[in-house]
């Protein structure tokens, strides 16, 4: 069914990708968190739209989880962590914005080429979704690689997870078990990270991962 429903799904997935790019060049933690909240919101809309199009009510649950948990609770919590820890707001990057954007574009091109080619026989909606999802996943990875700060690495990881949810919901009729478990594992992952952040704070008064980097290999 190519038509308005396809266009809307396409637009929402595209928005998600665009927001991934936006995250890539944020250099303040608060701004980054705001963009991430938007990212999660776009995901929630996209999943809800898939639920409507596929007539799969259980996907609304996934959309709701994305909306409440990822777009509201996590950004707020991270916001409070940043305030409480009083960490510096500038994000230290490993590579410059320009380079990161260029690499990001390369990754998107790569995922388009790969996914569109291999899914030639799948239905167009799933196809586009998958290509977008892979792009979002790769951009999330890129963000984790190019940031040194623990909070922004976590945000990178979560936007990577958003890409996975997009892919899972784009695959029509994928069993519910998996979606819930994805959401659930994000929750667990977050708890873990939270604990880590506090421990890191306890020990070194910083959440800059570089401060942890003294051991790399076995330097003595």
């Amino acid at each position: 069914m190519r038509g308005i429903s396809f266009d809307i799904a396409h637009m929402l997935a595209g928005t998600l990708l665009l927001l991934s790019f936006l995250q890539l060049y944020q250099d303040r933690l608060y701004a980054l968190l705001n963009v991430f909240a938007l990212h999660a919101l776009a995901l929630a809309l996209s999943v809800a739209w898939q639920a409507y199009v596929q007539d799969a009510p259980h996907l609304y649950v996934t959309a709701l989880i994305a909306l409440v948990f990822k777009a509201v609770i996590i950004p707020v919590a991270l916001h409070r962590i940043i305030v409480r820890l009083g960490i510096h707001r500038e994000i230290e990057k490993v590579v410059g914005v320009g380079t990161a954007m260029l690499v990001g574009m390369g990754l998107v091109a790569l995922s388009m080429v790969v996914m569109l080619r291999v899914t030639a026989e799948a239905d167009p909606l799933a196809r586009e979704d998958l290509a977008f999802a892979l792009s979002v996943v790769l951009l999330g990875l890129l963000m984790m690689v190019t940031r040194r700060n623990a909070v922004s690495q976590v945000v990178g990881f979560m936007s990577l997870e958003n890409g996975l949810v997009l892919a899972a919901t784009g695959a029509k009729g994928m069993p519910l078990v998996v979606e819930i478990s994805v959401a659930f594992s994000v929750l667990i992952a977050f708890i873990v990270i939270g604990i880590f952040l506090f421990r890191i704070r306890e020990r070194f008064d910083t959440v800059d991962v570089q401060a942890l980097d003294t051991r790399r290999g076995e330097r003595q």
Binding site: V114, M115, R117, V118, T119, A120, E121, A122, A126, L130, A133, L134, V137, L141, M144, A150, Q153, F157, L160, E161, L164, A167, A168, A171, K172, G173, M174, P175, V177, V178, S181, V182, S185, I188, A189, V192, I193, I195, F196, R199, I200, R203, F204, V209, L212, D213, T214, R215, E218, Q220
Partner: protein, 479 residues
């Protein structure tokens, strides 16, 4: 769901985890931990004789039966070792009673997750289980809360999650490939259904899926370009966890890879997954062998040795064919037993010496003869000297490769030899010569270590025909 053996090997650790979270007291919980592991092992053994029918979520076949018995056995011996090791850690104050409770709970959750990953008949469920296992081990690695432990846990967490995320993407792609053939819904993720219909799947989609699965689960196996988390995680966590990581968790991830390899083998139009595994395996062997030389930390050194051996195993399974698969299975079993035995020894040695630095150890065979000679035996076994079990499996891998790809075999042998030399160089410093470092009486339980070594020795000398037949059968299954 009625209570059959498969449910039991999941229910026992799960219940034990809850119980251990509630109960205080060191001896009581350590005892319970061992008891739960023993019960799980006994139930796993019963699977050899009677198997419950397969369901949509859980199943048992010849392949995962081997893995389950091995996992529960090493789980049992590690819990015995852990009882004495952790007792010592409590005495010298590295762990507090609260963390001890947490540790035991996590131990059982980890056993639960590994068993679930092995018996899962659903590729989504398998993924969830491996994710759970990763998270629990992350928490265990960071348990000492030192600077290094936190760094190791963070690195492990980040790399592990990225790997796990890529594996999920691969899993979704497999579902996408299966959906047009099998239809929507649960059936398209059920392993037993997938493998019967895989020949009709879209080959291009399966190819891409396998690349993601290889990168994802390959990270968890610790294959060479993706291994960065492994040495840190092994070195900084409590030693029983290093033993379980090396001996079991790497195997579980490899098992997941093998399952998908079997899926690809059914479809005639896809890329052969073998060469990919062979390449990564060879890189791991050679790379890890060279890395063995400049290690100063004893646990880190054996972590690199684990990378090397996982490389050999991946290489063997990548070569495929009945003989190489047989060798791969045997090597995996022997490596699990030997490496955990070595970590049992290393744990006590590090406690005696109060450090993990090789430079501050020496003359162990003089100061602590049982421990020292135990370590020597373990290293002799892991180096693959006859007549121990690893010699046999390495010999089989090498000869079967020489018959088919002599060039690859030469590289493999080169890597193995470099690794052996590196290990002995270090062993010489640790076990012989002038005693160095702190001298203390080891309060150790030698049972688990020597039980493992005895098994490895026995297999090297005489393999029971039943075991041979079983492994041959599984090797055929693997294609």
């Amino acid at each position: 769901m009625s209570l059959d053996a498969v449910t039991a090997i999941l229910a026992i650790p799960a219940l034990a985890a809850v119980l251990l979270a509630l109960l205080p007291g060191y001896w009581l919980t350590a005892y319970l931990n061992v008891l739960a592991a023993l019960a799980t092992f006994l139930v796993a053994l019963s699977l050899f004789f009677s198997r419950p029918p397969q369901g949509a979520y859980l199943h048992i076949d010849d392949l995962n039966n081997v893995f389950i018995v091995l996992t529960t056995f090493v789980g049992l011996t590690s819990s015995l070792f852990s009882a004495s090791y952790i007792g010592h850690e409590l005495e010298n104050g590295r762990l507090t009673p609260t963390f001890l409770r947490f540790y035991h709970t996590m131990y059982q959750i980890l056993m639960f997750a590994m068993n679930l990953a092995l018996v899962a008949n659903n590729i989504g469920l398998m993924w969830v289980a491996i994710e759970l296992a990763t998270l629990t081990t992350v928490l265990m690695v960071g348990i000492y809360r030192t600077h290094e432990a936190l760094e190791a846990a963070w690195k492990y967490f980040i790399l592990g999650s990225v790997g796990i995320a890529l594996a999920l993407f691969g899993t979704i792609l497999v579902y996408m490939a299966a959906r047009p053939v099998i239809g929507e819904g649960l059936d398209a993720m059920v392993w037993t259904t997938l493998v019967t219909r895989a020949a009709e799947f879209d080959p291009a989609l399966l190819n891409v899926a396998f690349v993601f699965l290889l990168l994802g689960y390959g990270t968890k196996v610790g294959l060479a370009p993706l291994h960065a988390w492994l040495p840190d995680a092994h070195a900084e966590g409590p030693t029983p966890i290093s033993a379980v990581l090396s001996g079991l968790l790497l195997n579980v991830a490899l098992y997941a890879l093998l399952r998908f390899k079997m899926l690809l083998a059914v479809n005639p139009n896809v890329i052969a997954p073998g060469p990919l595994l062979v390449t990564m395996g060879l890189i791991s062997v050679v790379f890890a062998a060279f890395m063995l030389y400049r290690r100063r930390d004893i646990k880190r050194m054996f972590a690199y040795s684990s990378i090397e051996h996982m490389g050999i195993i991946a290489f063997a399974f990548g070569m495929g064919g009945p003989l190489a698969n047989f060798a791969g299975l045997l090597h995996m079993t022997m490596h699990s037993l030997t490496k955990s035995a070595i970590f049992f020894a290393v744990g006590h040695i590090a406690q005696v010496k109060g450090t993990q630095q090789i430079a501050q150890m020496g003359g162990l065979t003089v100061t602590n003869p049982v421990l020292g000679w135990g370590l020597v035996l373990g290293v002799v076994a892991i180096a693959g000297l006859p007549p121990l079990g690893i010699f046999m499996s390495e010999f089989l891998v090498v000869t079967s490769t020489f018959a088919r790809e002599p060039l690859l075999a030469i590289v493999l042998v080169f890597g193995i030899l470099i690794g052996v030399a590196g290990l002995f160089l270090r062993l010489n410093a640790i076990a012989f010569g002038e005693p160095r470092g702190a001298v203390a009486e080891a309060k150790a339980s030698y049972g688990p270590m020597f039980a493992h070594l005895a098994l490895v020795f026995m297999t090297g000398v005489y393999m029971p025909p039943a075991m041979v037949a079983w492994f041959q059968n599984v090797a055929k299954l693997l294609g």
